[in-house]
């Protein structure tokens, strides 16, 4: 065992010096492997970063909450599919309120609708026009795990009377009221003043984001009534989530007058189902990637075999000397296989590093999601390199090991 390790170490050392002797040739050869591994790592890291982001965002929703929307979050049926969704009835506030009234089986029901992003200003400061303004009912505070840092959340009375009040996130509060408490102060959104009733903090959401929450009724009056709303429902616990969803489905079908036997004309999503949808969408991408990178690794492997065969011929004399001073066939074989593996590994490691760098550059600057470092794919990438090295290094190594020592010593 110890002897094998020592031999391995020697082989790696010899391989490195052999590769260093032909730097350009080695670099060109390992380029193929690098590109193959790079493409795997690039796509997998980007997918992982997006998935992590979804999980983080949905994590705030909690595992016992589901959402009802008119449209699915992602659509992968093409334009034909989206037409089907666009023909669906609106999911409007009346239906939402009706559902809220009937659905006494659900402990918490919230109605919400995004109204867009606007400039929010106080007496002291003004934000860029990028603060999301969200219409909500009191239930949304519970389903989204919003906790109050200060003041009170929105009340049913605020919603019923469509009051001009709002709750702002702690991040926005720090921007607009850098010195004092914002509660009771006024902010202006789209030329309307709102009195601040409280400051909320989003638990579980990793990113600090500004947010202004107003009663959904107020928002509909201001920004227009013809829009879809989302319904958030929290079940008593995870175990009853399925039952609650089924009951909610029945109620919604009744409200929206879906005939028996017809499919639902609305979507119900949990964080699990969202992640599943994401995986479904990226499945094709991952399969395509597997095919493309297999082909590129195959091509790279053939390149490696080619260069190893050249190397064996060039070093016939060296092989003869090694055999003469006591190298067994096995030693020569492992020397050349390890040389091929080392060559592949250098390419593979470069591919992993470049893949991480490239994918995370895309993730952070283009997709605006936190970076990811999928160690499992990195290990996979490096492992597949070893496999390529062993497979395509074997034949040249076999050829080297079976050279006749006498002939090799005479070769020049």
């Amino acid at each position: 065992m110890k002897r094998l390790l020592a031999e391995l170490r020697e082989n790696i050392r010899m391989a490195l010096s052999a590769l260093a002797a032909n730097k350009l040739r080695s670099a060109l050869t390992l380029l193929g492997v690098m590109v193959g591994v790079f493409s795997i790592i690039l796509v997998m890291t980007a997918v992982r970063a997006m998935k992590n982001n979804i999980e983080r965002e949905m994590g705030a929703l909690g595992s016992r909450t589901f959402a009802v929307t008119r449209f699915p979050v992602v659509n992968f049926e093409g334009p034909h599919g989206s037409m089907r969704y666009y023909r669906r009835k609106e999911l409007n506030i009346q239906q939402g309120q009706q559902f809220q009234k009937i659905a006494d089986f659900a402990p918490v029901v919230g109605l919400h609708s995004p109204f867009g992003s606007f400039t929010v200003s106080s007496r002291f400061a003004e934000t860029p026009p990028n603060v999301p303004v969200e219409g909500a009912t009191p239930g949304v505070f519970q389903t989204n795990n919003w906790t109050m840092v200060e003041g009170r959340p929105l009340l049913t009375a605020d919603v019923e009377s469509a009051r001009d009040v709002c709750v702002i996130s702690i991040e926005l509060a720090k921007t607009l009221f850098p010195l004092g408490s914002p509660v009771g102060q006024r902010v202006k959104i789209e030329a309307i003043n709102y009195t601040i009733t409280g400051v909320l903090e989003r638990v579980g959401s990793s990113e600090a984001k500004a947010l202004a929450v107003i009663p959904i009724t107020t928002g509909l009056n201001r920004f227009g009534r013809r829009r879809d709303i989302g319904i958030l429902v929290q079940a008593a616990d995870v175990a009853t989530l399925g039952d609650t969803m089924e009951q909610a489905r029945g109620v919604l079908r009744t409200i929206r007058k879906v005939a028996p036997g017809e499919p639902d004309d609305f979507e119900m999503l949990t964080s699990d189902s969202l992640i599943k949808q994401f995986n479904d969408v990226t499945f094709a991408v991952r399969i395509g990637l597997a095919v493309v990178s297999s082909i590129s690794l195959l091509a790279a492997g053939v390149g490696i075999m080619n260069i190893m065969l050249v190397s064996v011929t060039e070093r016939t004399r060296e092989i003869g000397v090694r055999r003469a001073i006591g190298a067994k066939k096995r030693s020569i074989m492992s020397q050349f296989i390890i040389e091929a593996v080392v060559l592949c590994e250098i390419g593979g490691l470069a591919g992993v590093i470049l893949g991480f760098a490239g994918a995370n550059a895309v993730a952070v600057y283009l997709l605006k999601v936190p970076p990811a470092f999928p160690a499992d794919w990195a290990i996979f990438g490096v492992a597949i390199c070893s496999v390529v090295g062993v497979i395509f290094g074997s034949y040249p190594a076999y050829k080297a090991a079976n050279l006749d020592p006498i002939e090799s010593l005479r070769y020049d």
């Binding site: 020697e10 060296e318 003469a324 001073i325 006591g326 190298a327 067994k328 006498i406």
Partner: protein, 227 residues
């Protein structure tokens, strides 16, 4: 008991459908501590004989015993072991690994013998010092003169303490002065009790040996002791 005992060694090759008889029954025995030169014109079979003595080749018939090991029926792995432990080769063209330092070159047989790294370095350094190259251990072959390269080769050949040093035209690529140096080194090695076999076609080189075996047409033509 003799170190080398060759008994009616024959070696035939198939070449383009024709059988070539390189050796036709050679019987020699060489004792421990001898300094032997094997001479012969090209095509005489002396290279084949050297390959067989060096365990690079096996005879078609006949028996060969080296240091008590019957070599004729050994497989490839056993032969590699014998070459590693019992034989040190010195070649006409030095055959050093050009990318490796003198030290690494001398360490190579120890690597295949499975000697661990610290011990290996120590032994290799001592072997280089023995041939007078203690100050050249980190030089690569292309940074050394021919004579120095051949001395590295001798150090490599001796590093595993083999029972036999087998040199094939060791001075063939050297000018006469450096050639003399190498022969003086051989003489010193012989004086220390090493067994040397030098294959050559130069009378001057052969004269340094204590016994000259001449090969002609695959047979021993003469076997004489030099006084």
């Amino acid at each position: 008991m003799s170190l080398i005992r060759l008994d009616s060694i024959c070696r035939r090759y198939e070449m383009g459908g024709e059988t070539v008889h390189a050796l036709r029954g050679v019987s020699i025995s060489i004792e421990r501590g001898e300094y032997v030169a094997i001479m012969g014109p090209s095509g005489s079979g002396k290279s084949t004989l050297m390959n067989i003595i060096g365990c690079l080749d096996t005879p078609s018939s006949g028996s060969y015993e080296l240091n008590g090991n019957t070599v004729a029926d050994m497989d490839d792995n056993d032969l590699a072991d014998i070459r590693n432990r019992e034989i040190g080769f010195v070649f006409q063209t030095f055959n050093l690994l050009s990318r490796s330092t003198a030290l690494r070159n001398v360490e190579l047989p120890l690597i295949y013998a499975g000697v661990d790294i610290d011990e290996r370095r120590e032994i290799a350094l001592a072997a280089l010092a023995d041939v007078g190259l203690a100050d050249r251990v980190e030089h690569r072959p292309n940074e050394m003169s021919g004579g120095q390269r051949q001395r590295v080769a001798v150090a490599r050949a001796l590093v595993n303490k083999p029972s036999l040093l087998l040199a094939d035209e060791p001075t063939g690529n050297l000018d006469s002065k450096t050639g003399e140096e190498i022969l003086a080194l051989f003489k010193a090695l012989h004086a220390k009790g090493n067994t040397l076999i030098v294959v050559t076609h130069e009378e001057e080189v052969a004269r340094h040996a204590r016994r000259i075996i001449r090969i002609r047409d695959g047979l021993v033509a003469s076997d004489e002791v030099v006084t």
